[in-house]
Each structure stands twice: as C-alpha cells, then as structure tokens.
C-alpha cells in the first residue's frame, strides 16, 4: 500500500535513531449505542481513521484542521489517554498497545500533554506547587521528596513565573500565566515529547506571542519534540517544521511548513489557507479566496471515496468511488490525498511587495 511512500516522506529520509514517535495507521472509533438496558452498537464515530506520522528529536509537527476533524482525539491517543481501535504507536521505539497500567505510567514520562483550556485544566483547590509537583507523586523516584519544592521552583523559573508564587492558587493567575503553569507541569518529568493541544487558542493576542516564544525557547533548551495541535494556521506556520492537515479523521496532506503553505496541493488545504483573513487591508479583494460551501459531514457517516468530495469544487466521479491515498503524486512534491492534486498559490507573504503591487493574484 502507500505506507512505505508516506513513511519515507514523513521521516524525510533520515535515519531512525532520531525518531522519537512513530504512529502507524492509528484508528479510534467511538461506538454509537442505542437502548438503555440492552445497549446495541448502531455505528461508529470514526474520529481518527488511519493516521500515520513520524516525529524526530527537536522537531515540531503541526496538526491543523477544523473542529471535529479528529486532531484532539489524535493527541489523546498519542498520550495513551484513549486506547486506539487499531494501529500502532511507538514512543522512543516502545509499542504502546498492550502495555498495562504500570507500563503505561512509565511510558508517559517520555510524553506529556499541555491542554487547551488553562482554566479548567488546573485544579482550583491545589496550589501551583501541588499542581506542578504532582507528577513527582506519581513518579516518586524522579526527585526525592525533600528536593521537590526546589525542583518545582526551578520549573516555575524556567517557564517565566515567579518561583515565590509557589503557594498561590490558579485563580490568582491570568490566562497566559496559567498556561505557563500547565507547561511547567508537562516539563516536570523531563519528557522527550510534548503534545500541545491548542495551547494558545484561549489566550489574547498580546499574550499568545509570549507563550509561543516560551514553547520555542524550551524546545531549544531541552531538545523537545512537539506535536502542536491548533486551528490557528499562522501560529502553526510560525512554530512548525512539518505540518499535517486533517479532515474528518484522516490526514489529507503532509509536508514541510513551506510546502504546505506555499504550494498546497489538496483542495481542502487550499480552501483552509485561503479562508484565513490576512492582517493587511491592502490585500483586500486581491486574494484568491475559496469559500467552501456547507459544513463538515458527520464522522459517523463519512462520504464514500474521498471524504472531502461533498464540499470540493474539483470533485469528479472517481472521487465518489475511489478513496485517494496519502502519497506523492504527479502534481505534488509532498504526500497529498487527492486524485487531482495540483499546486495552487493561495497565501502570500504579507510583506511580499510584488503581491501587493500586482493587480491580480490568480496564479493557479
């Protein structure tokens, strides 16, 4: 099948030594049940339906897609918070499936998560010291009990919080500071990988930049690898080395950051990128904007063939019958799951003067 092609493309042809996370064809189907006493399964919500990815040391993989495309479920699968229906997840070469609770706990030292909502992901009745130090309760051998307070203070310092605030409660902090607490907690066990699930979307613009900078600084300092899940395409572009675009539980296009943003080949990626408003009024009416019709179909009953065909302006008969695989194609230098993959320049660099002075922008 396409796996080998995808694999080499995703790994960028490097040696396997650097690979910290390897995911092969992972699936998560949630059963839909009917009945109160005798529950019958009447179908499945295919939240994640066959996604593969490879993450190397010090690398950031951005995962983008609209709500309901399965990107958060993917993050939870990587953390082992959900058990996959099928497929394999290897963290530092160790297979996650089949691990018992003890093995799982050990594995989670290497992979940690930063959650989206800094308000609901911190226990309001615990002090910051307790929250950030809790991983040490679960993994007592990491830091000796006597040294924990010092370790927590060091962590707070690393994420840019005042170490003296160790006895404060979450409500005494602002949104950006709370997100820093969440990041400190994720760093406590010195993981190799951090899954960041929409870490900045709840924050204000002026604070968002601070947290993005923090993520980048920590990556340089500790050699972390990130899976950065977000719907904000400009933030993802800024932070990612590689990008995966998801639609209805499947990856539709993967590639380097500049491959995806400068030459998207899947119609969905093109539509998604063109829909992002550009903060430059001079580009108004000059951009090649694609407005998609309709909404994302239900993942319980996805369309046959290509899942995007119901909203796609290029769809033809073949799209309804044959599911396009995520492979390198003639019109595309990177893997794209479209029968008619072709490059199209939809986003322009904001500071590219030739674009602003040019009269049209339909360089399809």
């Amino acid at each position: 099948m396409s796996t080998s092609v995808t694999e080499s493309a995703l790994a960028g042809g490097s040696t396997d030594d650097d690979v910290v996370l390897e995911v092969r064809d992972v699936k998560k189907h949630f059963p839909l049940t009917q009945g109160i006493v005798f529950k019958r399964t009447i179908g499945h919500v295919k939240a994640v339906d066959g996604v593969s990815l490879t993450l190397r040391r010090g690398e950031t993989l951005g995962v983008v897609g609209e709500s309901g495309c399965g990107k958060s479920t993917l993050g939870r699968l990587l953390m082992g918070l959900e058990r996959p229906t099928d497929g394999s997840i290897k963290v530092l070469g160790q297979e996650m499936a089949g691990l018992d609770n003890k093995g799982m706990r050990k594995m989670r030292r290497n992979i940690q998560i930063v959650l989206q909502d800094p308000y609901s992901s911190l226990d309001p009745r615990m002090t910051v010291g307790d929250i950030v130090g809790e991983p040490y309760e679960v993994h007592p051998d990491v830091v000796k009990p006597k040294e924990r307070r010092k370790a927590v203070q060091d962590l707070l310092d690393v994420v840019g919080l005042n170490p003296d605030h160790i006895n404060r409660y979450p409500h005494q902090f602002s949104g950006g500071q709370r997100q820093r607490i969440g990041i400190a907690r994720a760093l406590a066990l010195k993981p190799k990988i951090i899954v960041a699930d929409e870490p900045v979307s709840a924050l204000d613009v002026s604070v968002q930049a601070q947290v993005v900078n923090l993520f980048e600084r920590l990556q340089d300092e500790f050699g972390l690898s990130y899976v950065f899940i977000a719907h904000d395409l400009s933030v993802v572009r800024h932070i990612s080395d590689r990008v995966m675009v998801m639609y209805l539980g499947k990856a539709v296009e993967t590639g380097d950051e500049h491959e995806i943003y400068d030459g998207p080949t899947h119609p969905y990626t093109q539509a998604l990128l063109s829909a992002v408003p550009v903060p430059d009024p001079r580009l108004r009416g000059q951009r090649d904007q694609i407005v998609l019709e309709g909404d994302v179909p239900s993942p319980a009953n996805p369309p046959s063939g290509c899942r995007f065909r119901t909203r796609c302006w290029m769809a033809q008969d073949i799209c309804a019958t044959e599911e396009p695989m995520l492979v390198n194609r003639d019109g595309s230098a990177h893997p794209s799951a479209c029968h008619f993959a072709a490059e199209r320049d939809v986003v322009h660099a904001v500071d590219n003067p030739s674009v602003i002075e040019g009269t049209t922008s339909d360089n399809v």
Binding site: E66, S67, Q208, A209, L233, Y261, P277, P279, D280, V291
Partner: protein
C-alpha cells in the same frame, strides 16, 4: 415584504417611535465621551472611559481590542442592554440620527433596539432559546414589533432564512437551535438582527466561535447584506485579520480607552499608538519564521485599579516618565486620525 408590514402596523397602537424626531441629516450613530462603570466587590471598575466615534450609513467600523478592554461593554451600552446594576452609564451621549438614546425612556428605546439598531452576539447557541423553534423565535420579532399574525410571522421567518442562505428554509423553520450547525446558527442570528430592517448592526465577535472556513462564509454573507442594505456595521473583534478584511475605519481600545482611531489602511501601514503597533507586531509573520515573536510584555491592567497616567505605560516600549503621571488626551493626528499617546509622532515615524 414592507407593504404587508405597514398594514399590520396599523393594527397596533401608535409606535412610540413616531413621537421621536430623528434628524436624517445627522450622522447615523454618534457616540460621544461614553463612560460606563461597574460596581464590583473590589471597587469601581471603569470599563469604558470616554469612548467617542461616528458611524455613517454604509460604513463599517471595527472595534479592536483584547478581552476586558471594554469593547463589548461599549456595544451593550449603545444597545441599552447592560445589566444595571452592577453596570452604570455615568456619562456621554449615544446619538442615533441626532437623538440621544441614553435620555430615552425604556419603552421607546425598546423599539429603537429592534427597528433601528440590532445586535449579533458571539455565541449563537446561548443567544437562541433552546425550547422554541428557530421559526418561532424569528417570527416573534414580527409578532411583537409589527403586529403580525402567527401565520404571517412564520412566512416572514422562512423569507429571512432564505435571505441568509439556509438551504430548505421551509423545513428548517421548524427545527430547534441545537439542530443547526455553528455556522448555520450564526446565520440565524444574522437573520434575526436583520428582521426589522435596522440601519445599524452591531456584531460582537460574530465569528470567534467558528472555524476559519465557516468564518469566511459568515463574513462574506455579512458583507454582502451590508452592501445591499447600506447598513452601518460595527464589528467588534480581537482578530486583526478579520478587521483588515472588511472594515473602513478602526477604533482600537485598551483598558476602557479608545487609544487610536484611523482609517483601516493607515492604521495597518503606520500605527499611531504603541499598543496598536505592538499588536500588529505580535502576529506571526512569514518573514519572521524561526525568530522570536515580538510579544507585548506583561498583562492588561485590572480595571478596578488601573496604573496612573497612560494605562499602557507599564507595557509600552515608548514610555517615558511623563507617561507615568500625565494621562494622554486624544491627540489629533494629520489625516483625520486620533491617538492617545504623548509620543505619537515618534510612534508614527518608527
């Protein structure tokens, strides 16, 4: 649509609006030195401190700012839907066609609210009533304000849903809000705002809860309808991209103050206030890839106890000693712009 409504209006007692003399030559909406306070346990929070702007027919004004800067409170004060107490409008005027709405009695104002100024809220699911069908809620406007019968109101509701591009509108009027998707729900909200053909629409973060592809749909719809009906649109948002795409002029708010006002092109090209400048610089840009983002240091101030002098000075790169003590007035800048910064010239030329 309008003939039947005029007939229906006859059935109703005289509209309270008929006694009010609107001056059609006056600007559509003028807000002057608006001040709003909230009485909280911690003290008085000055949420809006002297905001002024003018909106003409067919014009789009963007109010830009972070959460807690007072942009929504400004909108609610214009609409007259603030919860009082704890909120209190302590000063200023909101003139619609020359008539100050703040001096109106509640009964008259209620009619202004539906017929002249309407609002679109951010969260459509919590703004719609979950126990009534969408058709009933849309028709309610006609029953209440135009004296339409149930049957007429229903027909109008179908018309409205068709206007905002909801497919199979005839069937969907009987659906409840939860049966609509996020984008469709926001369309229903737009339909509701347009129902009585107002002159002004205030859209408070209309697309913040939506995905980008749906956001593009909703913004395109809103822009089309505005052009068609020559509406004055006030768009409240924190998204610098959305504002750049649709507005004519921008009012930037920070800690209850309107810190800068200018034409959209000028503001993006040469911001005249350090806060606007910093906001624009904090957006991730392609040519900065791999570099650190220019973040604004610190946090927005608490409104109960704002810093003395200019409220932005603790976070400002241009701040001097004077900023710590002297509150900057609104300086008039060349090109019909305004900026509340002592050193606006320096900011403009930096």
């Amino acid at each position: 649509m309008s003939e039947t409504l005029t007939e229906n209006r006859k059935r109703q007692p005289r509209s309270p609006l008929s006694g009010v003399k609107f001056d059609d030559s006056a600007p559509l909406l003028e807000v002057e030195n608006l001040q709003v306070e909230f009485h909280t346990r911690d003290g008085i929070a000055k949420a809006v401190q002297g905001v002024s702007f003018t909106l003409n027919a067919g014009e789009t004004l963007g109010i830009l700012g972070e959460s807690g800067c007072g942009k929504s409170v400004t909108a609610q004060a214009i609409m007259g839907i603030l919860d009082t107490p704890p909120a209190k409008v302590t000063g200023g005027q909101v003139r619609y066609r020359g008539v100050d709405l703040l001096q109106m009695d509640e009964k008259t104002r209620r009619h202004v609210r539906a017929n002249k100024i309407a609002m679109i809220f951010q969260d459509a699911l919590s703004s719609l009533n979950p126990v009534f069908t969408v058709g009933w809620q849309l028709g309610e406007l006609y029953r209440q304000h135009a004296g339409a019968s149930r049957k007429e109101a229903r027909a109008k509701a179908v018309e409205l849903l068709e206007m905002v591009g909801i497919p199979a509108a005839r069937d969907r009027v009987n659906d409840f809000p939860h049966q609509f998707s996020g984008g469709m729900r926001q369309r229903v909200m737009i339909a509701m705002a347009l129902a009585l053909q107002p002159d002004i629409i205030i859209a408070d973060e209309p697309t913040t809860a939506l995905d980008v592809t749906v956001q593009a749909q909703v913004m395109a719809l809103l822009a089309d309808l505005q052009r068609e009906m020559q509406l004055g649109l006030i768009l409240i948002t924190h998204d610098m991209g959305v504002v750049a795409d649709v507005t004519d002029k921008i009012c930037v708010m920070y800690a209850g103050h309107a810190v800068e006002q200018a034409n959209v092109y000028e503001i993006y090209e040469r911001p005249g206030h350090p806060y606007t400048k910093a906001l624009l610089e904090s957006i991730p840009r392609v040519d900065q890839k791999g570099e650190e983002l220019t973040a604004i240091k610190g946090l927005p101030p608490a409104l109960v106890n704002p810093p003395p002098g200019c409220s932005f000075h603790p976070r400002c790169a241009f701040a001097r000693d004077r900023c710590k003590t002297d509150e900057p007035p609104l300086y008039q800048l060349p090109g019909n712009r305004e900026s509340a910064c002592h050193y606006w010239e320096e900011v403009l030329n930096s």
